[in-house]
Structure formats: structure tokens, C-alpha cells
């Protein structure tokens, strides 16, 4: 016993180092539990508040550009409105048809903090649990896909953007219809990689890449980007470079997407997995 105590006293520095270092590494690997903890929610609220103040000032300086973007989006949306179409059939299409049930709702949100220069980038938005935001909801901007909600507190949420090396998104090439998986290689916030497209699929530079709609997070057909280059690797699959349509370095307003049928889809998919 005495020897043990003497040993611990003699090597206390190294022993304590090993102990604390293992604690840190354990924390690192249990990231998901951490996201839900109370302390993190409190800190997220504080951080959201202070960053919101800083961001609202920077936003003021960008008002002209923002107005232009919103104007542009309004113009596109207006073109899609039913009442800008002239009916050419006898029975006009009705928006409020009991045949159609609304699947996606959108919640408008502002970004209060954002990073593009790390490998694990995160975005914080000013909408949280009381606004109806939940984890695993999709985030888009007027330019295209942004990311997926990771953690939610009362008034703020953190989002994993496409430019985080841990996020993979199911993507499809618009023209050929083949789908693969899109991820960020951690180098340039403007480009991502699209893999797992079989080599017999046709691929051209300039092809549009859109969401596949398989994940129950994003609706089908949301813009992701454009293919700027590709090569075949392993003989069977393409490895394509995609220029992202969203400019993450200059992002201020986003929409959170709520899928009203998500639970139904997941429940169904889970029952199949259990069999």
C-alpha cells in the first residue's frame, strides 16, 4: 500500500495526464450524447444571443445584397404561382385539393454564426424547439442545399452544413437519374465530391446535381451544385467534383424543412429492418 502511494506520488504528473487525456478522448467519441446535454443547450443559447448581436450588425452592412437576393427569389417563386398560369384545360388544377396533402413546410431562419475554415464546420440558426425545429430536419437556402439540423435548444439550433467532413448526402444527377453519395473533402468550401455513381452512367461536366429525396430529410430536386470534373476510380465508379450552388462564405437567410410524413416513412423502414 505504501509503495503504491509512493508510486502514485512519484508519477502523479504522468498518471494525471493519462487520466485527463483519456477523459478528453472519451468526450470526443461520445459526441452525440454531448449534443443533447443541458450544459450544451445553455451555452448554445448564450452563444446564439451574443453572435446574433454581432451578426445583425454585419447583416445591416449587407442589406442591399440581401434585398437583391430576396427579390430574385420572389421573382422565381412568383413565376411558379398557380395564378401566373393560364389554364388550357376545362377543369383547372386546384391548389387545395383533398387529393394532395401538404408534405413539406418551411420555417424561415437567420444564421447567427457560421464557419467555413474548419474540417468540422457548424452553423447556428436563430430558430429552435419553440419554433418547431427538430433534429434531422433539412436546411436549404435560396441558392440550394445547406445542411441538416443536429442539435436544438429552445431558441437556437446547430446545423451540420454540407461542408463538414462528417456529413454525407444522397444526391442524384438530374439528367441521367443515377444517384450517389455526396460529401466534402475538407479542402475548399466551394467544392464537394460525388461518389458511388456506376461507370456505365453517362456523365458530363455541367450536369446538375440535385437531392434524391430518398432520405426523408430533403424534398426531391433541391439544387446541390454542378459537376465540374470527374474521373473513374477502382474501375467501377465515378469520382466527380461538384461545385456547390450555395456559397457558404456568404450565407445569411435559410429555410428549415419539416417533412410531415417523415415519421411514417422511418417507421415503415424500421419495421422492414427488424424482420
Amino acid at each position: 500500500m505504501q509503495n503504491l502511494i509512493r508510486f502514485i506520488l512519484k508519477y502523479h504528473f504522468i498518471l494525471l495526464f493519462v487520466l485527463i487525456q483519456s477523459l478528453s478522448l472519451t468526450l470526443m467519441f461520445q459526441h452525440n450524447y454531448y449534443q443533447k446535454s443541458l450544459a450544451v443547450n445553455t451555452v448554445r443559447n448564450i452563444k446564439g444571443y451574443i453572435n446574433g448581436r454581432i451578426f445583425s450588425f454585419r447583416e445591416y452592412l449587407k442589406l442591399r445584397e440581401l434585398n437583391e437576393k430576396l427579390l430574385n427569389e420572389n421573382y422565381q417563386l412568383r413565376n411558379q404561382l398557380m395564378n401566373s398560369y393560364l389554364s388550357v384545360v376545362a377543369e383547372p388544377f386546384s391548389e387545395f385539393d383533398s387529393v394532395y396533402s401538404k408534405q413539406y413546410s418551411y420555417i424561415a431562419a437567420k444564421i447567427v454564426s457560421n464557419s467555413v475554415n474548419k474540417q468540422l464546420n457548424y452553423i447556428t440558426i436563430d430558430k429552435g424547439g419553440i419554433h418547431g425545429v427538430e433534429p434531422e430536419m433539412g436546411i436549404v437556402s435560396s441558392e440550394g442545399i445547406v445542411g441538416i439540423v443536429k442539435g436544438v435548444s429552445n431558441h437556437y439550433s446547430t446545423v451540420i452544413p454540407v461542408i463538414n467532413i462528417n456529413l454525407r448526402i444522397s444526391a442524384r444527377i438530374k439528367d441521367s437519374g443515377y444517384f450517389g453519395s455526396l460529401f466534402w473533402d475538407g479542402k475548399n468550401p466551394v467544392r464537394a465530391s460525388l461518389v458511388d455513381i456506376p461507370h456505365h452512367a453517362k456523365m458530363n461536366t455541367g450536369d446538375k446535381v440535385i437531392t434524391s429525396g430518398y432520405s426523408a430529410i430533403f424534398p426531391e430536386g433541391i439544387k446541390i451544385g454542378t459537376i465540374t470534373g470527374y474521373e473513374i476510380y477502382g474501375g467501377n465508379f465515378y469520382n466527380a467534383t461538384v461545385e456547390l450552388s450555395t456559397d457558404f462564405r456568404n450565407l445569411s437567410h435559410v429555410y428549415v424543412i419539416k417533412n410531415h410524413f417523415r415519421e411514417e416513412q422511418i417507421e415503415l423502414e424500421n419495421t422492414i429492418q427488424h424482420d
Binding site: F13, L16, Q21, L27, S115, N117, K118, G186, P189
Partner: protein
């Protein structure tokens, strides 16, 4: 020991604040993110007990982690750096050892001494941080380049702080 405590606590809070709300939002050249908060560990008195060094490093790293959404990442890198500090200090010690009543600052031991001492520890911290962040060794040289580039900026900030804030 007790009389330097309030100053160190204030420095802790100020450095974490600067790191989280200013430096983490810098988006310069796409790859650079200086981590100046390690200045706190660099400036702790020579007589700081070794166990306290590790505990302080963990608290510091964990505070930055809480605000960055990266649990354990900064804690781990900062604790490694604090572990190395006594060895680096020993290596650069003057012939008669460090005089009591002095602090590891440029003011007491000169800019050359401080730059060497700070650079080595900051590079250790940044290498650990950047490799833990990606957590694999492919893209080895790209990560190395990012770590060294950010280290350079952190070292510049830390040395500048000696000029402006701790001039006396």
C-alpha cells in the same frame, strides 16, 4: 501564488471570449484559424504545481470546446501542450534556473527566449488539434500545412500580445 489568481482568472475569461467570438469567426484565406487562447497556459507562473497545470489546461480547452461544439478536441490538445510545458521550460532554462518572482514573459527573459518557448508549445498544440480534428492520416501533408499555417498566425498574435498588453 494566491495574489496572481485574480489576474489569471480574468485572463482566462478574456482569452476564451476573444477566441470564441472573434478569432473563431475569422475566415482568412479559407484555412487559417488562429488559436490564441493557449496564451493562458504559456503565461502561468513557473511555480504552478504540475497537476494544476493539467487541470487548468483541461478547463481551458473544455470551455473553448463548449462554445465550438467540439467536445474533447481542444481539451485534448491543450492538455498535451500543458504536459509538455515543464519539459520545454527545462530545456530553455537559463544556467542558474528561473529566478523566483519572475514570470515566463518576454519582459523578463527577452523576446528570443519567449518566441522559442511559445512557438514550440503552440506548434505541439496545433499539430495535435488539427490531426485530432480530421482523425486520419490521409491528406497528411494538407493537414500539416493547415496546422503550421495557423500556428504561424497564433505565434504572431501571442508575441504581439507581449508587446501591447504585457509591456511593463
Amino acid at each position: 501564488m494566491i495574489e496572481v489568481l485574480p489576474g489569471n482568472i480574468i485572463r482566462f475569461i478574456v482569452l476564451v471570449f476573444i477566441q470564441v467570438f472573434i478569432l473563431n469567426n475569422i475566415q482568412f484565406m479559407g484555412q487559417v484559424n488562429p488559436y490564441m487562447y493557449v496564451l493562458f497556459i504559456l503565461l502561468l507562473p513557473f511555480e504552478t504545481p504540475k497537476w494544476f497545470l493539467l487541470v487548468a489546461a483541461f478547463t481551458l480547452g473544455f470551455s473553448v470546446d463548449l462554445f465550438s461544439g467540439t467536445p474533447g478536441l481542444h481539451s485534448s490538445a491543450t492538455v498535451l501542450m500543458a504536459f509538455m510545458r515543464p519539459f520545454v521550460l527545462n530545456h530553455f532554462a537559463p544556467r542558474d534556473g528561473y529566478e523566483p518572482g519572475t514570470f515566463p514573459r518576454a519582459h523578463y527573459y527577452g523576446f528570443l527566449w519567449f518566441s522559442k518557448y511559445a512557438s514550440i508549445l503552440i506548434v505541439i498544440h496545433h499539430l495535435a488539434l488539427f490531426y485530432l480534428e480530421v482523425f486520419h492520416f490521409h491528406n497528411f501533408f494538407f493537414t500539416l500545412w493547415r496546422a503550421l499555417l495557423s500556428s504561424a498566425f497564433s505565434i504572431i498574435l501571442v508575441i504581439l500580445s507581449q508587446f501591447f498588453i504585457y509591456r511593463r
